[in-house]
Amino acid sequence: MTSTVHKHILDNGLTVLLKPVYNTPIINWRVLYRVGSRNERTGQTGISHWVEHMMFKGTPTWPGGVLDQVISREGAHWNAHTFIDFTAYYETMPADRIDLALQIEADRMTNALFEEEEVASERTVIISERQGNENSPTFWLGEEVTGAAFRVHPYHHEIIGDMADLETMTRDDLYGHYRRYYMPNNAIAVAVGNFDPDRMLARIIELYGDIPTGELPPPVLRPEPEQRGERRVEVRRAGQTSFLKIAYKAPRAADPDWFKLAVLESVLAGPSGMGGGSVGNKTSRLYRELILTGLAAGISCSLVPTVDPYLMEFNVVVREGRTLEEAQAVLDAQLERVRNEDISEAELHKAIKQARALFAYSTESVSDQSFWMAFCENFDSYTWFENYVANLSAVTVADVRAAAEQYLDPRRRTVGWYIPENEGAAQ
C-alpha cells in the first residue's frame, strides 16, 4: 500500500489528492464539499443532506433517471453521504471506465437542475428517511443529547434535519445552498487506485480546470460557549429497553489532545474501526464492569474526528431487569477512575497495537483509503491519516490521565436517559 500522495491545488482552488495503487483493477473517485449540517441555520436544518439527494436528480447533460442508468451500466458502486462537516460523492469503478465518474462529478459541481417537481417528490422521501430513523429509540436519544450539548454551535441539530424544516424548505432554499457551497475552491477531489498520476491530473485539469472559482461562504462563527455544569435530558417513548448516553465535550481532530482521548476510548470501550475491520471490546474496562456484571447488554464509545470540538459519547444498553441508575453509577465510577489513576502501560500498548492493526485493515481497499484522505484533508490534512499510528504511539500514560482529567469533567457533560414506556407494548 505504500505509495506517494500527489497533492495539487488547481488555479480555481480545487484541491486534488492522487494516490496510485497498482495492485488493484479499480479506482475510487471522490469529491468532498466542505459543507455539512454545521453550515446550516435554523429554519434550514437538513438542507445539506437534501441537497445531496438532489444531486442525483440530473443535469441538462445527464437528466434524472439517465445518470444512474449510465453509471450503473459501467459496474460502478456509487453513492454519497452527508456528515456534520461535509458532503461527499464517490464512485468506485473498473479503472478503465473511471473517466465517466470524473465527467459526472465535474458536471454536477455546477449544473444540477433542482427541478421543482423533483424537489416535491424528494420531500416525502426525506421525511420518510427521518421517520425511519425515528423508529429507533437511540435516534430519539441521540437527537436530544446532541441538542442539549450544543446550544449555540450548529452541531446542535441532526444531519437529517428537523421535521418542521423538512416540511417547509423550498426549491430556492435548496438551490441557494447548492450555489453557495458547491464550487471548486470549496471542494477536495481524491483518486485512489490504478492510474498514472500525470495523466490523471491532466484529465482532471481538462474537466475541472475551467469551472469558475466562487465566493467562499462565510466561516461558521458560532463557537459553543464553555459548558460549566452537567445537563440532563430524558426521552420517554414506547419500548421495553432503557438506553443511557453520556456525552462529553471533546477537542477537534486537529488538536493533539484528540489522540489522547482515542487511547482512552480504546481502554474504556474498545477502539473504533477505520473501515475494513474491527477489534472486539471484551477486555475493555466498561465491558468488564457493565457487561460481565450483568448490568448491560451492550456498551460503546464514539469519538469522531471533527472540524470543530464535538463529543466523546458513551452508550449503554441497559439489561432487562436492571436500571438506568445502576448502569450510570458504574459508568460514572469508571470514568472517575481514569481521571484519578493512570491507565497501565499494558493498556496503552494494547491500544497502540490495535490502532496499528485497524490502520492496516483500512489500507486493504482503495475506497477506505480515499475516504480517509478526503475526510482528513477536510478537518486538517490527509497526512493526519498517514500519521495516525505514529501520533497515537506518541501518547503516554500521563497524557491519557491529563486528557481524562480535562475532558471527562462532569461539568462538561450531557447525560441522556431513554426511559421506555410500557403501555401498549408490542406483542
Binding site: 458502486h77 472486539g280 496499528r356 492493526a357
Partner: protein, 428 residues
Amino acid sequence: MTTANPIPGPDDVLRRVLPNGIVVLARENFAAQSVVISGSLPAGALFEAPQQAGLASFTASTLLYGTHNRDFETLHETLESLGADLDFDAGVHACAFGGKSLAEDLPTLLDLLGDALRFPTFPSDHVERYRGQLLTGLQIRMHDTRYRAGQAFRALAYPAGHPYARSADGTLDTVPDLTRDMLAAFHAHHFGPRGLIIAIVGAVPAEEAIETVEKALGDWTNPAQPEEPPLPPITPLKGVRREDVAVPGKTQSDIVLGVPGPSRRDPDFHAARLVNSVLGLFGMMGRLGETVREEQGLAYYSYSVVEGESGPGPWRVSAGVNPANVERAVESIVHEVERIASEPVSAEDLADNQSNFTGQLPLQLENNEGVATAILRMERFELGLDYLRTYAGMINALTVEDLLRAAETYWKPGAYALAVAGPDSAEA
C-alpha cells in the same frame, strides 16, 4: 505464487484437503499487512428442533467464552492485545466464522480458532450473562419494524416447521429454555472437521497458511458428526398471505413482500438475480426505486433481493414508507412484480444489467474479506475454482427469455406473502 490476476482462479488459490476432510484454500495478497480467515461448517439451525430455536446460534456465539485451554479473559486478552478479531455466528445451514489480524499474528489467530471450535466449555456464568444480552437484544427487536416485518414474512412464506419459517436467532419463548448442557451437547454432536471449509487471504505465503491450519485443526476428528438433514419440501404459495404487525409508537411502516426463490445451486439462479436487478436494484434500486421512490416519493428505500443460498431462500421486496402510504406502495410493488413476471425486459435492460454485474465483480474483491468470502462460496456451493474467471461469460450468455422464465417460475400472479409492521391504525 503470484496474485497478478485480480480475479482469483485455480492458478493463484491453493486448495488442500486435509486427511480429516477439512478443505483449506489460501490466496496471497502482500499489498496490505493484514490477513483474513473466513470459514464455515454445517452446524446451523437446520439441526435444531423448532422448540429449541436459537440453539445453534447460541452455541456458536458462546464458543469463545471459555475453552479447556483458556478462560474467557485469556481468550479475549490474546485476541484484543493483537488488534485481532474472531467471530462465530450460526445461520440456518452453517456456523460461519471470520477472523482478521496482522499477518504476523496468523498462527495465534488460528490457534484460537482451533481452541474455540474444538474445546469450548460453555461456562455457566458466561452462558447466563450472554442469555441476558440475547434476551435484551430480542426485546429491542420486538420494537423494530424491519425485523418484525421480516419475521412475519418468513412465517407466511414457508410452511410451519420449515427452518426458513423461523429466525435462527431464536425467540423470547425459546431462548430462556436453552440450557448450558444443550449447548455443550449440540457442540459435541455437530462440530467436527467434516464439511469444514477455511479460506485464508492476506500477507502470508499460501503454503505456510495451510500448514498453520493443519497444526491447529489437522488432528480433529468427530465420528458422531451427522449428515445435514434434507430441507423439508416447500409448497408454492396460493393466493395472497398477509399479516399486519402493530408496533406501537412508530412513525414508519416496513413492508416485506415476496415468495420462496431459487437456491444458489438452481440453474436459473443467475437469471433470477439478473431479472431481480432490473426489478429492484439497478441504478437507484431498479424499477421499484423508479416508481415507488422516485416517481411517487412514497419511500426512503424500496428494493428487492434474491437471497438464495443452500435452499430456496426468499426472493423479496422491502420498503419503508409512511403508514398512510402502505396500500399505495403495496399496489405499486405488486404491479412491478407482475410486470417483471409477464413481460420480457428490453434488450437494453438486459445489456445494462449484464454490464453492471460483470463490472461489479472486481469491486466485490476490493479487500481481503471480499476475496475470502468469494473463495469460500466457490467451495461451499461447488462452483469450481475457475468460477469467478468464467462468471462474465455465464452472465453474458443469459437471454431475455431466460430472465422471463426465471421470474415466472417464482412469481405467480396473485400469489405472494406480505408482511407490514408499523404503528397500529389508530395511531397512524
